[in-house]
């Protein structure tokens, strides 16, 4: 294997490199090194993002900004991001969590990319740079469009801190305590009084990238979280999904258990003090 490694001088320079030649960005390495070791990628050049100062967690005005090179372990260790701890500690194992980055996770295809599931439920915004401009877009739009963006580099994601007991996450796995997702479910459930106001449900491993369960959100919005609404949301959970069959689960099994895991998560949320 012959790979040239060059340090990125700036996000724009990194973009210019990957635009011009057969080059890939490398952040934590858990995705791109895997492809190189499997000979799936024959790349002449890697642009190393470690030299960019993108490893940071900032919280200001109740908004969290995660630099793209922030690791899963960094998130797990942060005292104000405890609501994300169940998400990141179910990824990989400690070694992977020391390496894997926020920016990389947004490019991990199903059944990986659990942090993106949580970020989608939190309505995160993605900041990215191209060779010419910086732009910020909704994570939902990023997932739909990023293959058409040409050369770009994600530099950060940001989202509003959820209220206490308003964010929930669970995933079905084949080997405890960590494994790729059979299905992952994240829910952000803001309330007005006893009623849900603008709930967001995101699913992982139910499509090539994390998706919103919009029909389930509609079934919940404006309602109190009780048995009837939970059942209605669960029955709508898989609408619009397109899970794959892989060594972790069949598409059929994923469709069968996604509603079960959503219902359990909502029941857990209903049991929380409002």
């Amino acid at each position: 294997m012959s790979v040239a490694l060059r340090a990125a001088a700036s996000p724009r320079e990194a973009c210019r490199h990957i635009a011009r030649r057969d080059a890939r960005l490398i952040a934590g390495g858990t995705l791109v090194m895997n492809e190189i070791n499997n000979r799936e990628t024959v790349t002449a050049s890697l642009v190393d993002l470690a030299s960019l100062r993108l490893r940071s967690i900032k919280i200001a005005n109740s908004r969290v900004t995660l630099g793209a090179m922030t690791s899963m372990a960094d998130i797990a260790a942060h005292p104000k991001l405890k609501f994300l701890k169940p998400v990141v500690t179910a990824i990989g194992g400690p070694a992977v969590r020391n390496m894997a980055t926020v920016g990389g996770n947004l490019h991990a295809e199903a059944p990986y990319g659990d942090l993106g599931v949580a970020l989608l439920a939190l309505d995160a915004r993605v900041t990215l740079e191209t060779a010419r401009q910086r732009k910020t877009m909704r994570l939902e739009d990023f997932y739909a469009q990023h293959r058409k963006l040409g050369a770009y580099l994600v530099t950060a994601v940001n989202f509003a801190l959820p209220g206490a007991n308003r964010f929930f996450f669970t995933k079905a796995i084949r080997r405890k305590p960590v494994s790729a997702s059979v299905v992952a479910v994240a829910a952000h459930l803001p309330r007005k009084g006893k009623r849900l106001a603008g709930p967001r449900i995101a699913l992982g491993a139910m499509a090539p990238h994390p998706i919103r369960a919009k029909a389930a959100e509609t079934a919940l919005d404006g309602k109190a979280l009780d048995e009837t609404t939970i059942a209605a949301a669960a029955s709508a959970a898989t609408e619009g999904s397109a899970p794959a069959s892989d060594p972790y689960a069949s598409a059929w099994y994923r469709r069968e258990i996604a509603p079960v895991y959503l219902a359990r998560l909502l029941a857990q949320a209903a049991g929380q003090k409002s």
């Binding site: 040239a4 190189i36 070791n37 194992g93 400690p94 992977v96 390496m99």
Partner: protein, 163 residues
Amino acid sequence: MNRIPLRFHLNDAEIGEFIDSGTTLLSLLRDKLGLTATKSGCNQGSCGACTVLINGAPQLSCLVLAARCEGKSVATLEGVSDNGTLHPLQRAFMDGFAAQCGFCTPGMIIAAKALLDRNPDPDRGEVIDAISGNICRCTGYEPIIDAILAAAAEMRGGKRKSA
């Protein structure tokens, strides 16, 4: 080939080598430096057999380009024993029959050492989390978890965990 110079700290030694820029840390350790305790398992980051410590934190050497270790400190199983005296983790693995084929053992011990360096008094759940990225196909994990807890107790001076 892109030959580049690399300097880093490995166990108790300063290493200076010319390497191909695409060389993984795992390949450098095993194929060039002859340190074969670190195992090549899946080469996908799934099995944990290649776990080493980089600046004290466990990472998977199959997914690390050696060139990215410039100036860093790398620890492998070869550096865990002290001039032939086994580390308490190594003794506990032997005493507790925590190895059968032994292929996962170097990665397990490195992952466990990373835990005990940071948390000398872990509970069972913390031990399970620490080795959750390391696959063992022989033991069923229980003897490994017991051995790590026994080593932790010994390193604390024979005191049992209060809880």
